[in-house]
């Protein structure tokens, strides 16, 4: 059943790969458009530095920034839910923060933090805390007021309403938010590395570009995509384990 559902996507994916392969073979200039096979070959050749140095460096940025974004996003969402004043003050700022062209500001972060991990973390956090804050806050708002009322008639305190009603009700939203945040944090880390770093997949991809190594540019990007897909799959798995009631909401 599941295989059947994924079949059209798999067919399309392979069709696109074939077109890519055919186009690359037609152009026959690997520095402009390397073929998928060339990219895979290059990934294998470069596996040493990629897996021992650059992947761990990028994953460190991704890990730190996801952790910060989740804590910050949850804290802001809870604060806005608890206090209407905080909501009025923060919500417009949170939205406005998304109009900042983070990519354009990133060089500034390099000036501030140098080539340390923090310049990349800042880029990634700026891109990821927003969907977490807004989605989780929407989750809080979606809690039906009649459920809160019912809890009150049972004599529930604010803390009990939070723990027994809002917290579980918001979990599906939280997982959606994290699923959005994972690829964004990887993109953020890669952008940060592109602009100034001494290691990392983004940095490596850029270095390959200066050497006109088309397949070398793609290899780390392929690795980034695979990481994003794997991490999202892990989050989905956790979600299915924890949020068994999602379809009923």
């Amino acid at each position: 059943m599941k295989n059947n559902r994924n079949l059209p996507a798999a067919i399309l994916f392979f069709a696109l790969l074939m077109i890519w392969q055919a186009a690359a073979m037609g152009i026959s200039a690997a520095y402009i458009l390397p073929s998928p096979l060339q990219v895979l070959k290059r990934l294998w050749e470069l596996r040493g530095p990629l897996f021992s140095a650059h992947l761990p460096a990028t994953m460190q940025v991704v890990g730190i920034s996801l952790a910060i974004s989740i804590v910050l996003g949850l804290a802001l969402a809870v604060l806005m839910d608890v206090s209407p004043t905080a909501e009025k003050a923060l919500y417009p700022l949170v939205i406005a923060s998304q109009t900042i062209p983070t990519t354009a500001l990133a060089p500034l972060f390099v000036l501030w933090f140098g080539y340390t991990v923090w310049s990349k973390v800042l880029v990634a956090v700026l891109m990821t805390f927003f969907p977490i804050t807004v989605t989780v806050f929407d989750g809080f708002r979606s809690v039906k007021s009649d459920m809160t009322d019912l809890m009150r008639t049972f004599g529930a305190s604010d803390a009990q309403i939070f723990m027994k009603l809002k917290f579980p009700a918001v979990l599906p939203y939280f997982f959606s938010a994290v699923k959005m945040a994972v690829p964004l944090s990887i993109i953020g880390a890669a952008i940060g590395e592109w602009l100034g770093a001494q290691s990392g997949l983004g940095y490596f991809s850029r270095r390959m570009m200066t050497q006109l190594d088309g397949a070398g540019v793609f290899a780390p990007i392929l690795l980034l995509s695979v990481c994003a897909m794997l991490m999202t799959a892990v989050v989905s798995l956790l979600e299915r384990r924890i949020v068994t009631w999602r379809q009923e909401l």
Partner: protein, 252 residues
């Protein structure tokens, strides 16, 4: 059991009060229904009793004591069952006891299982609410309401979302529960037939704002069956009540 004395309430956005100088009483152990056109303020009365809204003046007592001085004096059952989807049926029923605190887990589970058994939901304790039918969900919600331990139960149109046949069996079931538990039930409905079938007395809200509730005693004994509703005097009462409610077409 429940006594309103000279209660006035208005919503901040309304120029007119919803309740004005309202007094009425629900006797201990009685089954009293409150009927009225939709939007007339029936639910407002319930929300005031539950403490979700505060009356501007007047006194409301349950068991002779003002409601402001008490906690868990009433069990409220809303129109929708509002069972939490992330809790099993039994965990849902345990909720009021959990919130009260101080009850050991084993005892809570025992009480919840007992309540579910009387609600005809034995074997469904560990299921998710989504696996229950509409009528079963309402019975689970009723079991949860009982777990508040209050002698006064406020049921706000609990069967209005059910299909007709389920409603009829739920009414009969509710009467059985009431006869067993000896609780006082205050019941909101817009269904005149339902009110007659269930209640010892009916309170009719037919003024705007609500200044008084017309009191009607139902001339039926216990136990009752659906057939009793076909009696000519009951049919007449039904027609009279419907006529009474229709007299105010501008009430919405």
């Amino acid at each position: 059991m429940l006594r309103f004395e000279n209660v006035t309430f208005s919503y901040p956005q309304d120029s007119q009060p919803t309740l004005s100088g309202l007094s009425f009483e629900v006797p201990k152990g009685g089954f009293v229904s409150l009927i009225g056109a939709s939007g007339c303020g029936k639910s407002t009365i319930f929300r005031i009793v539950c403490g979700l809204l505060k009356a501007q003046s007047g006194s409301i007592t349950v068991g002779g004591r003002p409601i402001g001085e008490q906690k868990q004096y009433c069990g409220y059952m809303p129109q929708r069952d509002l069972l939490f989807p992330w809790r099993s049926v039994e965990e849902n029923v345990c909720l009021p006891m959990e919130l009260q605190g101080g009850i050991p887990k084993d005892r809570m589970r025992g009480l919840a299982r007992e309540a579910l058994r009387t609600a005809g939901l034995e074997g469904w304790e560990d299921k998710s609410p989504a696996e229950l039918s509409g009528g079963m969900r309402q019975r689970a919600a009723f079991a949860r309401t009982l777990m508040t331990g209050s002698d006064l139960l406020l049921l706000d149109e609990p069967f209005s979302a059910l299909d007709y046949l389920t409603r009829i069996s739920m009414r009969e079931w509710l009467l059985q529960q009431w006869e067993q538990d000896k609780k006082t039930i205050f019941f909101i409905t817009h269904d005149v037939e339902e009110a007659i079938f269930l209640s010892s007395e009916i309170l009719v809200a037919d003024t705007w704002p609500i200044t008084q509730l017309k009191r009607v005693t139902v001339p039926l004994g216990w136990p009752r069956t659906q057939k009793d509703l076909a009696r000519p005097d009951i049919q007449e009462l039904k027609a009279e009540l419907i006529e009474h409610l229709r007299r105010k077409p501008d009430e919405e």
